[in-house]
Amino acid sequence: MTETKLPPIVRGEIQPWTDRDATGGPVLTAFLADLLPATAGRVLVAGPHDAGVLELVASRSADVSVLLRSVSDAEALRGGTWSVVTGALDGLADEKPEPFDVVIAADGLDRLLGPDSPALDWVERAGLLRGLAAPDALVVVGVANDFSLTALLDRRPVPERHGDDEWRPLHDDPRRPASPAQTEAALGGAARRYALFATAGRVHTLLDSGALARTRPGLPGSGIALAGLAAVAGGMPLLAPVTDAAEAAARAGMLDAVAPGWLIVLGQGGATHTAYTPSGTADLEEDGWRFGDRLVPDVESAETVLFRLAAAEDVPGFREYAARLTDGAFFDRVHGLVAVSDNEIPLAAAWFRFRDRLIGGHRRHPWPPWMAEGDDLVKTWLAMSGAEPTPEILARGREIAGPPAEPLDLRTVLADAEKARRTAEERAGHIFGLERTIGFRDRQLRTREQQLREMRAELRLLKSGRAVRMVSLVGRVARLRDPKRLAGAVKRRARRFLPGRS
């Protein structure tokens, strides 16, 4: 480690204060590992980043400075193979340090000032940061997107979204970039831009903006983005599910513009992949997406096709398509699948997930509600895929798929309520119909009863007729003429009068 000449504290530190959810995670670390040169020279990590990021940077450079505004955060971080500077960005800039070869501010520019700092807008903060870097330095800057789908669909009023971490309303800043074009204009000369998806600081998806802008609904690129968006949305109170809006954005080629944020790379660095996800990296090649040793064609996912067929109520088309699916990998090509040796179980799990998304998402489909309530849909689709839906396969499939997601967004809650109202109405209709059917059956019974009564009456008439009486008389005479039968009859009757006989 090389000692920096920076003072351990510069103007603008905050105490007591802590910046929670430092930016990092294995996905960001993997990206930086590809981007940073083996020998990175002087490096500045500005803002809260997790230990993984710091350790990676430290492995590439012997001269790493970490700028943190929180005194306690800075204290906690001291003792590593980096030097820690406590204070604000403006305070550090005032020190006029030697230019840095690499500047990493993946956390963005919102957690670099203290309450004692001047009210610098986003562009001024970016200018200060750029000023710390050498002219040909590698600079990585995170930018939060206020026009992201998750921000647009956030149920909370704007002032309540960012907690108490702002003594100035940073998001009111008119010069704050809110589109890829504005970001590039503000920073100038971005070499690379990635859509960034993070939850509580943990980056879980990075996707090349160019690839994202070109993708369309259901294609693997869109699948990666939707998984990222779903993860971001998972912890947020929303007005509506992000999926529908994301599909519309993908159709418009606007997914990059509505991503939760971007990671901007200025200057030259190592080669990076098209996408970084929790299950690994992916590259968009000429013949498709390469996920490790798997090549996935850049075509619509099975789920997209099946949703479309279900919405068109085209069951034969759905059946033909389902017959071509032989294992569970088809829905989860992008984000991996629990490895199970038996093909039918992952297939069942995939169908369960499809069912949950179809029903939970209030998508249009041709199956009646009594099939949608239980496992009947999964049984139907499994059979269409050529697998027998045994209870074991169903149970294991459901276990792997996990329970259906609970709706968190307002639209789904309202749609669920409307569906419940309609279900009640339809059940009342069903009862009405059943009563009517019972009415028909009652009439049918009455007809039968009438027929029976008429037949009985006819029988009575018949029995009292001369012919029947004659037959009866002949029968009795015949018994009299058979001594054995007569003796038997007398004996039977006599027994009734014998003591001890009932």
Binding site: V315, R319, P368, R427, A428, F432
Partner: protein, 280 residues
Amino acid sequence: MHHHNHYYGQSHILARYCGLDDEHPPRIRGYLQHGWNVGCGWNPVHEFFDGAWRYTWSDAPRRRGHSLGRRDYHVVGAPFLYLMELEPDLGAVPEAERSGTLWFLFHGWEGGGKGGKIQGDHARLISEIRETETEPVTISLYYTEFERPEVRRAYEKAGFEVICFGKRGWNYEGTDRRFLYKQLETFRRFRRVAANRLSTAVFFGVAAGCTPAVYGDPMALEGDNPLFGGQARIARLWPEMLGKEIDLEAARATTDVELGRRHLMPPAEMRMLFDWNPRD
């Protein structure tokens, strides 16, 4: 659910297909289309209960139903096609031995007190049949006409054999559950099926291997509701099915669409769809 579901023993056939009691078939949770239909699958004034599903033979009635604001359709295919699967050999004779024309007179209906008789010039129709058909003709009358002596005798006097396949039933009473069995069995020995209106029987005949023909006075039905466009619309939509000589391949393709061959489903799926599995 609805007594129309029992018409022609269609519920019975589907129950048998599903491995259930076909003498007393379980209730279908919804409405089953009971005849080929140019509308939404049912007559224009049919009543529907809330939440009851509509099971059509083909996709077109489903789409037309949507345009009428109706929902909850599922296309199942015509029960007659399921019957053909269940009875692959019933009445079958070698192809070369098939002969004659089974001629269906457009039929009236029970009426439910609202009429339902057909009116038309039977004599003129008879001469047209004679002029057209080259092989022996058997006239099939629905019982509503079969039991009208003046109609029945007209065809008998013309030298045609006159038959009746039975009653479709009404309010669960009098359904001849072998109705379609008898029809299938008969179709399989005839070479040609003909009618004076494009109708269910023509499609069934084509499905059972007959060459179709549709010609002659279409006659008028008492109380007929032309809401769906009547004969003119039929001529616009299915011209390939009208005439004395019809292209068989085209007729078969149309028949497959109208009877919903693509929509046939396995028994297990149908049991779930109709809510026919026992519930705990």
